[in-house]
Structure formats: structure tokens, C-alpha cells
């Protein structure tokens, strides 16, 4: 009886551990890529995980602030087997997280002033992704989000794009020997302007980059 109980508990834990990877978004196809583990795939961010914009001059509000090359992602994707008829495929997307703040607003950390203005919308931040081979879907174009639940594609093709194609490459390969197609650089821009009448304060928004097998 005790053994039965233990096995049910352990089996439950096993099932839960499989489901626990759904925090990014759910992969949809069978497993052909090696997971992130020693000797397996790698998903590296070699830059700082904080970017700070401080607007304290008129020119900052009118012209905006651009942070170039602030984030860099590097990928090393390995398949289980090189002899498979269809290769390991993956997608790379980005999304935002405002920590549950109302609607599509930035999360307010500290208010300044009297709070009679407006709260900044997530559409205020513009993000541009590019690499030397121009593989991202909207390569080198600033993108904005209209909804907090939106996923913006970086590499997001249903077809197989092998290395060397310079277009949405999404199979196995490595930044070590193919930096051109397996690295991604991100610029950020915020331009508040004066007419938006934003409430002064400190705001926060998380940018999430999700690599998932497809």
C-alpha cells in the first residue's frame, strides 16, 4: 500500500516536471533539439540584463534616448541526430511583462509629482533586432507592442531554413562558427515627447526572449 502511494506521488512529480517548461510558451512538435544542458544547446545573453533610461532634459523628451547593442543573444542549437529526415527546428520570440499592471501600462515603481498626467503605455518602447546576415523576420526595424500578451517574432518560420540561407535560419548550428546567423543584437529606443503628459516617476518593464523548439 505504501509503495503504491509513493509511486503515485513520484509519478505525479514526473508529470509535473514535464509540464513545468510551459512558462515561456508551449512547444508544439516532437523532440529533435537537445535541451539547454552541458553538451547540448546553449542560449546565451552575454550582456547586462538591465537597461535604464533616464529623462531629465528637454532634449531627452523631444529626441528620445536610444540604447544600441544593449542586448546580445547567442545560440548554439544541437539536434539529437544529424541523420533525421527533418532537422531540429526552433523559434525565437520576444514579449513583454508588466508584472500584472493595469492594461498595457508600464509597472509604476515610484511616482513623482502629483500624478495628474497619463501612465506610459508599453507601446512607448521600441525594440530593434538584427544580425550581420539579416536573418530576423523584421530585421533592423524598430518594433512596438500593442498588447501585453503579444509575442513578437524574431525567428518564426514554419519551414526549414538551413544555415547559409541568410533568411530566418532555424535549424541546428552555432554562433561559434556561424556568428552571422546565430547571434542577435537588440537596440532599444524610448521617445516620450512632451505632449503625452506622462506622470513623472520610475517605471519598469521586462523584455522576455523565448527560445523554443518547433
Amino acid at each position: 500500500m505504501k509503495i503504491k502511494q509513493y509511486s503515485i506521488v513520484l509519478l505525479s512529480i514526473f508529470i509535473i516536471s514535464l509540464k513545468g517548461y510551459s512558462q515561456c510558451y508551449n512547444p508544439t512538435s516532437p523532440y529533435k533539439c537537445l535541451n539547454i544542458e552541458p553538451g547540448g544547446s546553449e542560449f546565451l545573453m552575454t550582456t547586462l540584463n538591465n537597461v535604464t533610461f533616464s529623462f531629465n532634459k528637454l532634449s531627452d523628451y523631444l529626441g528620445g534616448i536610444t540604447m544600441s547593442g544593449t542586448t546580445q543573444l547567442k545560440l548554439k542549437i544541437k539536434s539529437y541526430s544529424k541523420t533525421q529526415t527533418d532537422s531540429c527546428r526552433w523559434k525565437l520570440v520576444m514579449s513583454l511583462d508588466n508584472n500584472g499592471s493595469i492594461g498595457n501600462n508600464w509597472e509604476l515603481k515610484t511616482p513623482y509629482g502629483n500624478g495628474h498626467g497619463t501612465v506610459p503605455d508599453i507601446g512607448l518602447i521600441q525594440i530593434r533586432v538584427y544580425n550581420p546576415c539579416s536573418t530576423p523576420q523584421l530585421n533592423n526595424n524598430y518594433q512596438t507592442f500593442t498588447n501585453i500578451n503579444e509575442l513578437r517574432p524574431i525567428i518564426y518560420s514554419d519551414l526549414i531554413h538551413e544555415p547559409g540561407s541568410h533568411d530566418q535560419v532555424n535549424t541546428d548550428g552555432s554562433y561559434i562558427d556561424d556568428y552571422c546567423e546565430y547571434s542577435f543584437t537588440f537596440d532599444y529606443r524610448i521617445k516620450p515627447t512632451l505632449s503625452n503628459n506622462f506622470n513623472p516617476g520610475i517605471y519598469e518593464l521586462k523584455v522576455k526572449f523565448c527560445l523554443v523548439e518547433y
Binding site: I3, L10, L11, F14, S17, L18, Q23, C24, P27, Y31, C33, N35, I36, E37, S41, F43, M45, N49, N50, V51, T52, F53, S54, F55, N56, K57, L58, Y61, L62, L73, I77, W90, W106, Y112, G113, N114, H116, G117, P120, I125, F186, Y188, I190, P192, L194, S195, N197, N199, P200, G201, I202, Y203, E204, K206, V207, K208, F209, C210, L211, V212
Partner: protein
């Protein structure tokens, strides 16, 4: 049997890690600090002199057109007001009295700050809600001295011993905006740089006038409610040099 079940469970864990799908996430936290930026540029001299040394100047007054140019830039809703102040916040400061050879009947050095009059080139479009003073801004054009003498306070500067306390809506004057945070009681964020140039809501040319009258009693002096503050009875202004301070205060809507 126990060993078999245990082995199966261990095997399940092993299999789960081998067949786990590729999935990973990286995060960047973007922090944005919006500091309130309110910028008031004054590109004109900060000293303005009125010298009354002839009869016409006493009767007709002296006008200084465009003596002060103000340009506003703000990232928040804002109000702008002018306030006359001095050591006691009510009267001009006496620097030097002339020919004071003894107390003369009616001669006084206590002159109201409201003797100084202002006119702004563009209207205050954010003081139209109810509960404002009789003369809530400086938009009314200067009329001739005779006509304006009968309407004290119409152009007079708002005066206060507490210049950094925003004027009350019913007794004070604003160049732009109004006391209160309701809609229509403040100008929106913006800048003269990007909105309209010299005709915009963010650009003001200020004219000054003083009409002493003869005898020098400053008949046009008054507050925003139209209450006269002119010298009365036998009093007249003693000759001398007087100074006052005019502050232009740009502040977030309140």
C-alpha cells in the same frame, strides 16, 4: 516487486530529461525614469527702469513694450504666473528718498506693488472654468490712462508676500492656467520649440506700464477682484528711487 516499481520510476525520470524539449528564456529589465522637466526661458534683460521726470510721463504713464519674453517647455501639465514681491510683499522697497527735508503733508513712501501693470500678448486659454477672479490674467490690452484709471486692478500685477504660494483662483492672476487640477485648468506639456513659435501657448511677450497720475497716487493700482489700492486722501508718492521684484513662476499643475 518493490524494486521493480522503484526502477521504473527512476527510469521515468531519466527518460524525462533525455526527451525534454528545447526551451529557454532570457530577460532584460527596462527601467525608465521620467523626471518632471519644466523650463522657463527669459531672453530679455532682468532690469527694467521707469523714470518719471516730466509731466506727460506722470499723466500718461510709461509703457515698456515686449520688455520680457518668456518661453515655456514642460513635460507635465503646467501653470505660469507672475508675482510682484518686495521686502514686505505689499509695497515697493524705498532705496532713496529725494529732497526729504522734513515731513511734508501727505508725502508717503508706501507705494503699492500693484502700481505695476502687465499685459501679455497671447491669451490665457486655461482659465475659463468657473470661480476665477474679475481679472484672472493679463490679457486685456492697455487702454488710455484716463479709461483705465477707473478700473483699478485690471492690469495690475498680482502681488504677494509669499511668492511661491500659487495664487488662488478667485483672488489671483495667472499668465497661463489656473489654480486647480480639473480639466481645462492647466496647459498641457509641450514646448515653444515644437509648437507654434511666437503665436503658441508656450510663448509670451510681456508689456509693462506704470501710471503715477498727478498727484502721484497710482489710480490704476488694484487687486484681481477690482479693489482699488491707489493712494487715498491727501497722500501722494514721495520722490525717490523704489524697487520691486517680479517673479515668473512655472509650476506643475496644482
Amino acid at each position: 516487486m518493490k524494486k521493480i516499481i522503484f526502477a521504473i520510476i527512476i527510469a521515468c525520470f531519466a527518460v524525462s530529461s533525455v526527451f525534454a524539449q528545447l526551451i529557454s528564456e532570457q530577460n532584460v529589465t527596462a527601467t525608465m525614469e521620467l523626471q518632471p522637466v519644466l523650463q522657463l526661458n527669459m531672453t530679455t534683460p532682468d532690469q527694467i527702469n521707469f523714470v518719471f521726470d516730466n509731466i506727460p510721463a506722470y499723466y500718461g504713464g510709461i509703457i515698456k513694450y515686449g520688455a520680457t519674453i518668456l518661453k515655456v517647455s514642460s513635460s507635465v501639465s503646467w501653470d505660469l504666473y507672475a508675482v510682484g514681491t518686495s521686502n514686505n510683499g505689499t509695497n515697493w522697497d524705498l532705496q532713496q528718498e529725494y529732497n526729504n527735508t522734513g515731513a511734508a503733508n501727505g508725502r508717503t513712501t508706501v507705494l503699492p506693488l500693484t502700481a505695476l501693470e502687465l499685459h501679455q500678448n497671447s491669451p490665457n486659454v486655461y482659465d475659463t472654468t468657473a470661480g476665477v477672479a474679475l481679472y484672472p490674467d493679463y490679457n486685456i490690452a492697455f487702454n488710455n490712462a484716463v479709461a483705465d484709471d477707473t478700473l483699478p486692478g485690471k492690469h495690475s500685477i498680482y502681488a504677494s508676500p509669499s511668492p511661491y504660494t500659487a495664487p488662488d483662483a478667485t483672488t489671483g492672476k495667472y499668465i497661463q492656467g489656473q489654480k486647480g487640477v480639473s480639466a481645462g485648468q492647466s496647459a498641457p506639456g509641450g514646448s515653444y520649440l515644437s509648437q507654434g513659435g511666437t503665436t503658441s501657448q508656450y510663448y509670451f511677450a510681456i508689456d509693462y506700464r506704470i501710471i503715477p497720475g498727478l498727484p502721484a497716487r497710482f489710480p490704476a493700482a488694484g487687486d484681481a477682484t477690482g479693489t482699488s489700492q491707489a493712494l487715498t486722501g491727501v497722500h501722494y508718492a514721495a520722490p525717490g528711487t523704489y524697487t520691486m521684484n517680479v517673479k515668473y513662476v512655472l509650476l506643475e499643475d496644482q
